[in-house]
């Protein structure tokens, strides 16, 4: 039983990562109805920025963390302005292809940057190798979690609360909601739709970067770490594409199922658990757990 809980706990930590990337997908999907296939690669860039911040610039970890988020915020906005804005109003497929191109570009260019390259890097964090034990008496019989996992969960929770407040209680958040409901109407009501989209891309990039920085101490930083984003798609679908809490819940489900499958099922199932879950979900409830069910009117 304890072992099971132990697995669930680490699954939750992993799920938070998926959830954060899925959150990035969902934010962009809500605003522009397209999927950003470069989401994982934005996460990878975040990881590398953290690396440069701590190692090359010698910043303290949390300062580097914040700096990386800020840089990625502007990077996401720039990306929207340069690459995506000209495609406003084009079919989703077009935009998907351009983000795939951006992903390729990011993965390729990273290998050409000195210090980054094709190697795997370790991101030094102050909370490395610490252990937290929950419940039980002292060190025995309790649930043991590594500090990395605890930080992942804590930061994710903080981020979700921050985003919730942003969306519910600020002018800009409400403008974003209006835009995602009906772009044209929002535009006529005087909401600067383009600037809102730009901001959404920025926030989405920053959220992904956050996932990258949280994941880095658990795995490594390398050019292909963004492929983990492919497991965040299922997370977003399970939650119901377009639902922010759904993204997180979906991420958690995928994370936990994957961890359990890795332990209890034969080898190989861990890697495809996420995809099996999503196929089952699509068969049972295509709109996901929190998805909206709309049909075309004629």
């Amino acid at each position: 039983m304890l072992q099971f809980l132990q697995l669930v706990a680490s699954g939750i930590a992993q799920g938070c990562i998926y959830g954060l990337i899925a959150l990035g997908f969902v934010l962009i999907y809500k605003a522009t109805e397209t999927i950003n296939f470069a989401q994982g690669d934005l996460m990878m860039l975040g990881g590398f920025l953290g690396l440069t911040g701590t190692l090359a610039l010698g910043l303290p970890f949390w300062a580097a963390f914040a700096a990386a988020l800020l840089v990625m915020l502007f990077f996401g906005m720039a990306l929207e302005r340069v690459v995506l804005r000209p495609l406003l109003g084009q079919p989703a497929f077009t935009v998907v292809m351009v983000t795939i191109g951006v992903g390729y570009l990011a993965r390729g260019l990273v290998t050409m940057i000195p210090e980054w390259g094709t190697d795997t890097h370790v991101l030094p964090v102050p909370y490395k190798d610490q252990i937290v034990s929950l419940g039980g008496n002292g060190t025995e019989g309790g649930l043991i979690m590594s500090m990395e996992h605890v930080v992942v969960i804590a930061v994710t929770a903080l981020l979700i609360v921050a985003l919730y407040l942003l969306f519910k209680h600020t002018r800009i958040g409400i403008a974003m909601q209006a835009t995602s409901q009906n772009q044209l109407a929002a535009f006529y009501m005087g909401i600067p739709v383009r600037r809102i989209n730009m901001l959404v891309w920025g926030i989405s990039a920053a959220v992904s970067a956050c996932a990258g920085l949280l994941l880095a101490p658990i795995t490594f930083v390398h050019a292909n770490m963004g492929f983990i984003g492919l497991k965040a798609f299922p997370a977003a679908v399970v939650g119901g594409f377009g639902s922010i809490p759904g993204a997180l819940v979906g991420g958690l489900i995928i994370g936990v199922v994957e961890t359990l499958a890795g332990f209890y099922l034969p080898e190989g199932f861990k890697d495809i658990a996420a995809y099996i879950v999503v196929l089952v979900m699509l068969a049972v409830k295509p709109n996901g757990l929190f998805g909206e069910n709309l049909r075309k009117k004629v």
Binding site: E33, I35, M97, I100, L105, R107, M112, I276
Partner: protein, 358 residues
């Protein structure tokens, strides 16, 4: 500008609309047939890859370009075709039979992968196909007794009707034959009710069904055909490479096929062929360029993805109709000279027509 005076409905059913087309396509076929005699072996080998990619691309085009269903897992069908061919060949099946069976197996897989398409659309379907792609990839790696797993599987030498296909020259003719066959088949499809039903589904599902089109049946047909064509490409690929391993059929391979379509131009057979040719040429150019670039850039493994990423973004932004669209524009420019207007092919912009409601 050419004016066609039509006097018979049959004229619109012809594959070639006028004598000029017959002449130019004939010349093209002749040039392709002569290629092995004129080009060095290395280029013949590359031409083979162009043909194989073009076949796979046409397969994907049937699905994406004509039926409007996205597939992010097409490499799975290539894998099914390739491994079925390898397995059957090692069990002594003659090529013609094993190839047909490979197409059949891939097509059957296509039907299974297409099942979600009956319920979900757009992005959800994309993710479902992506999931199937990963599952097949993993399955191939695990089914070691059939596929050799991660260690790979070798193929024996190929024989067609007793004729050993032992050189790239001979294999090139074989591949070219299948490319022509596939092109003709798909062209036939497009001028007949099935092809029109595909296009109808792509443009409006609601009115397609109100016109009596059984959505489930035609979507399944599109998936099966598309997968079967990809299966043929996979089987040919297996014979070209002669060594199969699961990492040849990854998610990235599926994405590359989509990139080929976008670069070539979505929505026409030309697009798939142009895209495939462009893809191989650029790959070769990158190999050539490596010696000329500073090592910090040229020797990096990231060079190829960078170039492809850049090309893809550039195409979507500046030439969304792809190479075929560019060719149409150039042709129209000369035909209408000097009356060509810049906006002639401009895309229609719609202010976010919600996909959620489709």
């Amino acid at each position: 500008m050419r004016f066609l005076f039509k006097t018979d409905y049959r004229q619109d059913l012809r594959l070639f609309k006028h004598g000029g087309q017959v002449f130019w396509y004939g010349a093209l076929l002749l040039a392709l047939a002569a290629a092995p005699w004129l080009l060095p072996d290395y280029w013949v080998s590359q031409l083979i890859f162009v043909c194989i990619y073009a076949i796979a691309g046409i397969g994907l085009m049937v699905l994406v370009g004509f039926t409007g269903q996205v597939s992010l897992g097409h490499a799975a069908f290539l894998a099914m075709g390739a491994y079925t061919e390898a397995y059957l060949q090692s069990h002594g099946w003659p090529f013609v039979l094993s190839l047909a069976f490979s197409a059949l197996v891939a097509g059957a897989t296509g039907i299974i992968v297409g099942l979600p398409a009956l319920r979900v659309k757009g992005m959800y379907l994309a993710i479902a196909t992506l999931a199937f792609g990963f599952i097949v990839e993993e399955g191939v790696a695990r089914a070691e007794s059939l596929t050799g797993g991660n260690a790979g599987k070798m193929l024996g030498s190929l024989e067609v009707f007793g004729l050993p296909i032992d050189s790239d020259q001979r294999f090139y003719y074989l591949v070219l034959f299948f490319l022509v066959l596939v092109v003709l088949g798909v062209m036939n499809l497009l001028r007949s009710p099935t092809g029109r039903a595909f296009v109808a589904i792509r443009d409006s599902e609601i009115s397609a069904q109100s016109m009596g089109i059984n959505l489930a049946r035609y979507k399944t047909t599109a998936f099966a055909l598309s997968a079967a064509i990809a299966g043929i490409a996979g089987a040919l690929y297996a014979h070209k490479i002669r060594f199969l391993s699961p990492d040849q059929f990854t998610f990235l391979q599926s994405i590359e096929l989509l990139m080929i379509l976008v670069i070539g131009g979505v929505g026409s057979i030309y697009g798939a062929i142009f895209g495939a040719a462009f893809w191989i040429v650029v790959q070769q150019l990158i190999v050539l360029a490596k010696d000329w670039l500073p090592p910090a850039i040229g020797q990096q493994t990231g060079l190829q993805p960078t170039v492809f990423g850049l090309i893809l973004v550039a195409f979507v932004l500046f030439e969304p109709m792809g190479l075929y669209g560019r060719w149409l524009k150039i042709r129209t420019f000369f035909q209408l000279f000097p009356f060509y207007r810049k906006g002639l092919f401009r895309r229609q912009k719609s202010y976010m027509k919600s996909e959620r409601l489709k």
